[in-house]
């Protein structure tokens, strides 16, 4: 009898659907929002349920259409001047109201500063379980419908799958760059439902005074090409060569933790453990040995080119193309050849255009 109580079956039939929080600043959505809608779509389909999106802000109506185009069946939107900037109290108030009314079985947020701030507050209010910083998300089908939320643990040395059996909704934050957004489809149709904001400005103590965008901002998460360097560069000077290659290709410069820790380049360039998880179309790993702490952050790249002196370096195990040699020779050659080819490509495009005209 006691055992039967312990393994009690919960009735969660009231809770259905997957809800994604769409993070934005000044009407611009964070890419992780669309990535999560993509993954949310996969989970919702597997559970044979609906995908919801929550859009909160001021003048963010266009994001509701975007959310539908990226896979949402229904978008809940709450617009008010008080919601222009993210602040914990008013945003968590809206999300709480939404979760209590809609009763989704799963709620996902980007593992950004804002996503973690908001999810942490909501999970405590509800209360329910919240898994941080997930990199794999799957579901068990009926009857359990459990979210299998997996995340790196112990400095990325292990992975752990975390479940929340006794509470609903199941919540998780997920790393940017890990999941793939669906291709945008403007033909998709979805429902848009408006929510009231119930919080007045005078009830909100926190005031956002200003926001200074990072000037030297590297946008690794959205970069299509990343030229990354590691310990093998031997010093900060060699990053100039990488910068030239990146500039020739229209890419960004990345770095391994070793190069960042050595002070050769800023932390905002760091890929992998405690840095960014990226999924560019093309990734150059130059002078990077390829420790798992680095490769967890870049192995989703479509194409990886590794350049290293040591042909046994583990980076070659995740590389599509490998060059063993001296980066100080190879990188400038790559830069020059890239300039030549791009110029030739432009020329060809230009000529085609003239023929067509």
């Amino acid at each position: 009898m006691a055992e039967a109580v312990q393994e009690q079956a919960y009735d969660w039939s009231e809770y259905r659907g997957v809800l994604i929080y769409v993070e934005q600043r000044e009407g611009l959505a964070k890419p992780v929002s669309w990535q999560l809608l993509g993954q949310g779509r996969r989970l919702a389909d597997k559970l044979d349920t609906q995908l919801f999106a929550a859009v909160i802000g001021a003048q963010v109506e266009h994001l509701a259409q975007d959310a539908v185009a990226y896979g949402a069946d229904r978008v809940y939107i709450c617009e008010a001047e008080e919601l222009r900037d993210y602040r914990t109290r008013p945003y968590s108030r809206v999300m709480m109201q939404l979760i209590e009314e809609v009763k989704p079985e799963i709620v996902l947020f980007g593992a950004t500063a804002t996503g973690r701030d908001l999810a942490g507050a909501i999970a405590t209010h509800l209360p329910t379980g919240l898994t941080a910083d997930t990199t794999e998300l799957d579901v068990e089908p009926d009857p359990s419908r459990l979210l299998l939320a997996s995340r790196p643990a112990f400095s990325e040395k292990m992975m752990a799958t975390i479940l929340c059996k006794q509470y609903r909704p199941q919540m998780a934050t997920a790393r940017a760059g890990v999941f793939e957004a669906l291709p945008r489809d403007n033909q998709r149709s979805g429902e848009v439902i408006r929510l009231d904001n119930r919080m007045q400005e005078e009830d909100i103590a926190a005031k956002v005074l200003d926001f200074v965008e990072d000037q030297a901002s590297v946008n690794l998460e959205e970069a299509e090409i990343i030229v990354a360097g590691g310990r093998g560069l031997g010093g900060p000077e060699a990053f100039r060569l990488l910068g030239e290659l990146a500039a020739a290709m229209g890419g960004e410069v990345g770095a391994s933790r070793a190069a960042v820790d050595a002070g050769w380049i800023g932390h905002e360039h760091q890929v992998g453990q405690t840095g960014y998880t990226v999924r560019p179309k093309l990734y150059f790993a130059i002078g990077i040995s390829g420790a798992v702490q680095h490769t967890v952050g870049m192995s989703n790249a479509d194409c990886v080119v590794a350049i290293n002196k040591d042909k046994d370096a583990p980076i070659f195990q995740v590389a599509h193309y490998g060059i063993v040699g001296d980066l100080f020779q190879i990188v400038p050659a790559l830069t020059e050849e890239m300039k030549r080819r791009k110029a030739a490509g432009m020329q060809a495009m230009h000529e085609e255009g003239e023929v067509g005209a």
Partner: protein
């Protein structure tokens, strides 16, 4: 005088943890215990406020008895009092159960030493890596919540306001709010001091206040430890490095290698996928 509580955690230095390749399990032996370093940045900021405007600084931790060592370090750095909350019943807590106990602890600290104005936590712990306990405490105690703080710009004890810089992915936001407030610290917040010799002696001699479940008469037993934790670890594994077939570029010099590589990329239609040319491969 302001009363500041700093929440700390003694953690295994996860950077030192290795995986046993034979068994695929963590080798915990010989891994040093340290004060979670983000928490030390919170303590440092509390001590700076203490020096500038006057404040009482109380450090709290939930953990097993050896965590006393970390509290002594904090006293050595300049904290006034330290509390260890320890009980077998607290073991196995996830972030929800942890924030419950720490919130109860802070309430009790208020009863003992007076109303709390500011609570500092680290951005996250090295072993848990969640960043959820801070917001959890703020929520339970109805504190204002300022996470990912890289600069405390102003603390106005009279008007009871704080102004901070929050470091987000794309820039720095300046926010002002009222006390009581919970702040989570980034390492950019400050440089942590070294303990002075008298400080170290004081820390060494100091006996932290110890509270167990018995000291919390209204504690809900269903909300602590493993039982109060909605999340459970179902399994752990060591990720296998993804292995792809590496095509070696072995041209005789750098120029030949560059050509060979780009020919490969061009054959894979990369220029079109990157939008450098329209449609398929430009040659062919």
């Amino acid at each position: 005088m302001l009363h500041i509580v700093v929440c700390i955690k003694q953690v295994p230095d996860s950077r030192e943890i290795r995986i046993d390749p034979a068994t695929n399990t963590l080798i915990r032996q010989g891994v040093p215990s340290i004060v979670n370093f983000y928490d030390l940045h919170g303590l440092e900021e509390a001590l700076r406020i203490k020096e500038e405007t006057g404040a009482r600084v109380t450090v709290v931790t939930m953990g097993p008895p050896p965590a006393e060592k970390s509290l002594k370090i904090c006293i050595g750095l300049g904290a006034d009092e330290a509390v260890l909350v320890t009980d077998r019943g607290f073991a196995g807590a996830d972030t929800l159960a942890t924030s419950y106990v720490l919130a109860k602890t802070i309430e009790k600290v208020e009863q003992e030493w007076g109303k709390v104005d500011i609570v500092f936590c680290g951005k996250q712990t090295l072993d848990g890596d969640t960043g959820q306990v801070g917001p959890g405490i703020a929520c339970r105690l109805d504190l204002e919540q300022l996470t990912y703080v890289s600069e405390v710009k102003q603390v106005n004890a009279e008007q009871r306001t704080v102004q901070v810089g929050r470091k987000l992915e794309d820039g720095i936001e300046t926010v002002e709010t009222r006390m009581p407030v919970l702040i989570t610290a980034l390492k950019e917040l400050n440089q942590v001091r070294r303990a002075s010799l008298p400080g170290m002696i004081r820390g060494h001699r100091y006996k932290p206040t110890v509270w167990t479940t018995a000291d919390f008469p209204d504690l809900d037993r269903a909300r602590i430890g493993l039982k109060g934790s909605p999340t459970i670890v179902a399994k752990t594994w060591v990720p296998e490095a993804k292995s792809v077939n590496c095509q070696w570029i072995d041209g005789e010099d750098a120029q030949a290698q560059a050509n060979q590589l780009y020919d490969g990329l061009w054959d894979a239609d990369l220029p079109a996928r990157l939008g450098w040319v329209q449609g398929g491969a430009s040659h062919g």
